[in-house]
């Protein structure tokens, strides 16, 4: 990845911190019948970002400091209160910080709930497979809104 400038290490460290606060996801995806295969929804949700990163112009990446700051706060709140949901919100914010702000971002951000255990808890009345199908559907809907013309943030 030729950027011409070093990677933004602080911003990437915030992303790692948010991922650390979301480590419980792997436990939920492995053990909870209503969260099984939730990682597929996460992959679907991340797909447009990953694709755009691979074909972006060779300019240095940048991240929105406000969203990263919010990610730190959400992650810390999750750690201090032991409420995993805040950790998941931290991960969403830390990932979204790399996308240019636009109205397309909002439905994509909201659709992140598709890969969270809270989604399985809300829909616990349905079977595990129904919840899984709804997860993927919701993640793809978010991707549909974001995909066509969104931009990765780059340094000015």
């Amino acid at each position: 990845m030729k950027t011409g400038k070093p990677l933004p290490l602080v911003e990437l460290a915030v992303l790692v911190f948010a991922a650390w606060q979301s480590l419980d996801l792997s436990v939920a995806w492995r053990h909870s019948p209503h969260d099984r295969f939730g990682w597929l929804a996460l992959l679907a949700w991340l797909t447009p970002l990953a694709l755009r990163l691979t074909d972006r112009p060779r300019v240095p990446l940048a991240a929105n400091p406000w969203l990263l700051g919010s990610a730190i706060l959400a992650g810390l709140l999750g750690q201090l209160t032991e409420v995993h949901f805040f950790g998941h919100v931290a991960l969403v914010l830390a990932v979204a910080a790399w996308v240019k702000i636009s109205w397309r971002l909002l439905p994509w951000l909201l659709s992140a709930v598709a890969w969270m255990p809270v989604f399985g808890w809300w829909l616990a009345g349905f079977s595990g497979w129904t919840v899984f199908a709804l997860r993927v559907l919701l993640a793809l809907t978010g991707v549909f809104f974001l995909r066509p013309k969104f931009k990765i943030r780059t340094e000015p």
Binding site: P8, L9, Q79, L80, T81, A124
Partner: protein, 195 residues
């Protein structure tokens, strides 16, 4: 790290990591002294310990869990008490767990208890039916609202336990799948309502 926002982010991140690590070093007061009041035998009842299976051990983790079978007259109850002071996430919504195990929650109804209320779950799986009752107790009050319990526990974690005593989850099921008269439970096992 050259720009001002990056320096602020770095400082915030460092502070967050240190706080997160430090918070884990402060243990919360647990409910074991209260749970210990629940007698193993007494007038009209006796009990035996039930070991946790491997799945339960992995789910409960560091949480302190009591699992006993109580015999009261001709009825046998499986009583599970989960103290989540060391693993908050072990104190869960029993309905969610039953659904995960393939049961359908056909109905929920409140059960009046001393100093509060619990919830009776009517469950079925295929032709099998079962009932279970649960509540959360902090020693002062009993209630069965999961979200309320979670927020109380979150606030408790945030205040190092100063906000309220440790809540425990109490889950009672008949051993043989009967539908007991739950209203008689406080009279049959009064010790269940002393912690």
């Amino acid at each position: 790290m050259t720009s001002r926002p990056q320096k602020i982010l770095f400082a915030g991140l460092l502070l967050a990591v240190l706080l997160a690590l430090a918070w884990d070093l402060v243990p919360l007061p647990d409910a074991q002294s209260r749970v210990a009041r629940f007698a193993t035998d007494g007038l009209g009842f006796s009990s035996r310990e039930m070991p946790l299976n491997e799945t339960e051990k992995s789910i409960y983790g560091a949480a302190q869990v009591l699992k006993r079978i109580y015999r009261v007259g001709r009825e046998n109850y499986v009583v599970v008490i989960i103290d989540g002071a060391r693993n908050r996430h072990a104190v869960h919504d029993p309905a969610y767990c039953f659904r995960g195990a393939g049961w359908t929650v056909a109905a929920e109804r409140p059960l009046t208890l001393p100093a509060g209320a619990g919830k009776i779950l009517s469950l079925h799986k295929g032709t099998e039916t079962r009932e279970a009752v649960f509540w959360f107790s902090n020693g002062c009050e009993r209630q069965a609202q999961v979200a309320r319990c979670w927020w109380q526990m979150a606030w408790r974690r945030l205040t190092f336990g100063a906000s309220s005593p440790a809540p425990v989850l109490v889950l009672v099921q008949p051993l043989d799948g009967d539908h007991p008269a739950w209203e008689r439970l406080p009279a049959q096992l009064p010790g269940l309502f002393e912690f």
